[in-house]
């Protein structure tokens, strides 16, 4: 299909490109699998490892292709129903939620000090849950990047997992969640969290699928020159998957502006100012962004109580 849906064509191309990469990796894997049958005993383990490595690469690119395909389907569904439905096209991150059969999904990008710097959310539930973790300083993203491993928290365990985050996220209607770190074991750059994956899928399937998706996101979207360009030069139009994903990123701009203003008002450090803004949000039961906006619009000062 061409013409009527110009936003869909590039995404289709990304999917095709990933499929070509998958085929290339599979070709190498197959050759080593064949050689294994005839090779001398001593060299067989080598062919086995080469085959395994390239099967993993094949899986990574197939997963990336499926991710792009899912986004294409969502764009198509949106395009044919857009008159009755939402004005804006579906977000790329929603495709990730759909692939895992989850209600919502969110990506949180962290600083080396584990501070949230950017969040991408599929809907308001994911955004609110990510906001809670930012305010409370505990939750799935912190756990996944600290332990460096995937965490699945089923419905019966969620109430007991985190002292503050658990009850708060339950109030949002979230019953279970799963999270996987993004990036490299030496440098985790963030985490992918899915909220309310369908119950039947909460077992091994989910863990496997989430792991593959986190791997594909890391290596085909995040750790790319395109992603770096998208984050560095705001003026440059970035047209690949990273640009699409980051188009919906919230870099907490207002919150950090507010922290700067509070630091000037109170004569304290930025860290303390940020903690003050978060504390005020916690006490008032409001989102940090809401409090920050009031500070930036000069409706609220934190130094004159």
């Amino acid at each position: 299909m061409t013409g009527p849906f110009p936003e869909i064509e590039p995404v289709r191309k990304w999917a095709d490109m990933e499929r070509v990469r998958a085929i290339r990796a599979a070709t190498v894997a197959r050759r080593h699998e064949r050689l294994m049958a005839t090779a001398a005993e001593s060299i067989r383990p080598f062919h086995q490892r080469m085959a395994d490595l390239h099967r993993r690469l094949e899986m990574r690119h197939l997963t990336a292709a499926k991710m792009h395909d899912t986004h294409v389907s969502r764009l198509l569904r949106w395009a044919v129903t857009k008159e009755q439905q939402a004005e804006v096209p579906p977000r790329y991150i929603s495709a990730v939620a759909e692939m895992l059969g989850a209600r919502s999904a969110g990506i949180t990008l962290l600083s080396p000090e584990q501070t949230e710097m950017s969040v991408i959310s599929s809907d308001t539930v994911a955004a609110a849950a990510q906001d809670l973790e930012f305010t409370l300083g505990e939750g799935p993203v912190h756990d996944a990047t600290t332990a460096g491993e995937l965490v699945v928290v089923a419905a019966d365990l969620l109430p007991h997992r985190w002292q503050h985050y658990s009850p708060a996220v339950s109030r949002l209607g979230v019953r279970s969640l799963a999270v996987a770190p993004l990036g490299l074991p030496e440098t985790w750059v963030g985490a992918l969290t899915v909220f309310d994956p369908t119950r039947t899928k909460l077992a091994g399937w989910l863990a496997g699928a989430l792991k593959e998706l986190a791997d594909a996101l890391t290596h085909t979207v995040l750790l790319t020159e395109e992603c770096l360009a998208a984050l560095t030069d705001e003026g440059v139009a970035v047209t690949g998957p990273a640009g699409q994903l980051l188009a919906n990123a919230d870099h907490h701009a207002v919150i950090h502006q507010a922290a700067g203003m509070v630091a000037a008002q109170c004569g304290c450090s930025i860290e303390d100012a940020l903690a003050l803004v978060k504390a005020r949000a916690f006490v008032r039961g409001e989102r940090v962004g809401t409090i920050a906006l009031q500070i930036v619009e000069k409706q609220l000062r934190l130094d004159d109580q």
Binding site: R24, L53, V189, L228, H251, H256, A259, G260, M261, I270
Partner: protein, 240 residues
């Protein structure tokens, strides 16, 4: 230590030093191809290394013909580097005149460029091969064992170097990603701090910082950082 030994040793030391210093990878491999051709007494040498998807690609060649031969291997999926890469072991061809069955496209072209024999050394890492290095010879016959050892050692060193360079590239990218995000955070915080301190709108605070960055040829993130820890005092209204 003989003169040949000495030169081989120097080449290895030099190669290792280049990788440790994180010199440009393409330059290092081009240098390796030159050294390899010279040390082993070949007409030329070429290096092929896998790309991110695991496909063999031309990385360096010591001469135009050698580059053409590597390109041919890539395009037609046949040749000694390819075989060495896939088998994970050295491929010896002491007489290219007898290699037409093995490499129907590659062998005739190689001979036309004045080559009569070749060796391809696998570039292996634990559990996988990441490429191969081919040395072309003007006369038929295999190289002596010592020369083959030198060639394989250079290929091994190159494999370790390329492997660690690649792993490091991902690390660098991850760190740059975090630095880019961090810089955004600092800029917003500095905007807030300046706006409040000078009693000006946020946009003006931003313009003030950007103007300072431009006129001093510095990055906006560095200016923001300096504003935040009090190393830089900006005052007055932006003139833009």
């Amino acid at each position: 230590m003989g003169d040949t030994d000495r030169r081989g040793w120097d080449a290895m030391a030099d190669l290792a030093a280049r990788f440790v210093a994180e010199a440009d990878l393409a330059c290092t491999l081009a240098w390796l191809a030159d050294q390899c051709a010279e040390l082993l007494g070949g007409t030329a040498a070429g290096v092929m290394v896998i790309d991110a998807q695991g496909a063999l690609d031309v990385a360096a060649a010591s001469s135009g013909p050698a580059r053409e031969l590597q390109e041919l291997e890539k395009r037609h999926f046949e040749g000694p580097a390819r075989d060495s890469f896939h088998a994970g072991r050295r491929i010896d061809c002491p007489d290219l005149a007898e290699a037409d069955d093995r490499w129907p496209r590659f062998a005739p072209v190689a001979q036309r460029h004045g080559n009569a024999a070749l060796h391809a050394f696998p570039m292996a890492l634990p559990g996988r091969t990441i490429g191969a290095m081919t040395v072309f010879l003007a006369d038929p016959g295999a190289l002596p064992g010592e020369a083959l050892e030198t060639g394989q050692t250079l290929a091994n060193l190159a494999a370790i170097g390329v492997g660690s360079y690649r792993a490091r590239q991902n690390e660098i990218l991850a760190a740059q990603l975090q630095a880019a995000l961090h810089s955004r955070v600092l800029i917003e915080q500095a905007k807030g701090l300046l706006a409040e301190r000078l009693g000006i709108p946020l946009d003006d605070a931003f313009a003030l910082m950007r103007q300072h960055a431009r006129s001093h040829g510095r990055k906006l993130g560095d200016i923001a950082s300096a504003v935040l820890d009090g190393r830089l005092i900006l005052a007055g209204e932006p003139t833009e």
